[in-house]
Symmetry: C2
Subunit: 211 residues, 2 copies
């Protein structure tokens, strides 16, 4: 037998190529030959590791979300050990904004997949749908924890605010993507709402909030 190669590693390499070329020319414009050229392999190889284009696209989606999850995790780790709830929330929200090339590609492709899934039931059945729910639950928990610690407005509805923050971050991400809004203004809007939800380390609410 020939040099037993790691299939999973090869697949990841090819999926990476898919993400790169799709990020440049758009997901709709990507072809098997483009992916092969970008990965530096032959067309046959792409066929070998992913029998069909549909499977390649599905794997690409999974790879994309995995990479993004890892990136968010790194951002959280970079925020230091045990940061405050607000710092954690900020890190989560700002990590999803397309501020550099990698996050820009992620935002573009994730949006493309989402729009595709509306009219493609096979894609809609893929596992990327539950990701937003997880983010919503995590953010809700974070806000509730902050409320319990007296750091956030106790009268706020944590889940509603979590939904709102994620919704704003998502649309503004797209606005940044199309060049309609600057990252700075998007961050300013998010900060405005965080200022509203989190009590500003001040004296007044702290007395009422802490047991």
């Amino acid at each position: 037998m020939p040099k037993r190669v790691d299939h999973e590693e090869r697949r990841a390499q090819i999926a990476e190529a898919l993400i790169q070329v799709a990020g440049r020319r758009g997901l709709h414009a990507v072809g098997m030959r483009d992916v092969a050229a970008e990965a530096g392999v032959s067309l046959r190889l792409v066929q070998y590791y992913f029998e069909t284009k549909e499977k390649l696209l599905f794997y690409g989606l999974r790879h994309l979300t995995d990479r993004f999850t890892a990136r968010v995790g790194a951002r959280l780790a970079a925020a230091g050990p045990d940061p405050g709830p607000r710092a954690t929330v900020e890190a989560l929200l700002l990590a999803s904004l397309p501020t550099d090339e990698e996050s820009r590609t992620f935002h573009l492709l994730y949006s493309s997949y989402a729009i595709l899934s509306v009219t493609d039931e096979a894609l809609a059945a893929q596992p990327f749908i539950d990701n937003p729910d997880a983010a919503e639950n995590a953010l809700t928990g974070l806000l509730e924890h902050a409320q319990g610690a007296g750091l956030a407005d106790p009268d706020a509805d944590a889940r509603t605010e979590a939904i709102s923050l994620l919704a704003m971050a998502a649309t503004m991400g797209t606005s940044i993507l199309v060049g309609q809004r600057s990252p700075e203004s998007a961050i300013a809007v998010l900060q405005h709402h965080l200022d509203r939800i989190f009590t500003t380390s001040g004296t007044a609410e702290r007395v009422a909030g802490s047991s």
Copy 2:
């Protein structure tokens, strides 16, 4: 010469067919032949009125936004003559939510065009980019007017709130589209923020309008 036909009307008819088929199978999957079949004309006719597919797509975008603008206008008119600021804002925001087949199609296609425009500079140069700015300005003016009339929190930043409301409505529209969220929960979140911004109770516009 043969029966001089109204070119603009024909173009509108074909563009309508484009919207219908694109709403069903996705904008990426639409072809000239599909549009021709949907419109009940020959492929040659589509070529005759739109020389190229690109021009057909551009015209379709314009037609889509025009129809949506008319729809929002109708919603506003249906809200009665001189409704209160909150009722107007509600009508604007709820009109953009994909609650029926027409708005669902609009949301899907507008999002598709927007995502396409990220990697297609010819599409990015089309006139649909300034539409969001217009909505933002209109909503900001509405909020400022409400503040002036003592109906809204005077300490709120009108433009920031306008941006936030539109952003939330947009993302939630997409969430409804992909079946991740119900229209009711989206409306509830928007109402929550309107309750926060507008100070007077729900029947304010009635009192201000009649008595």
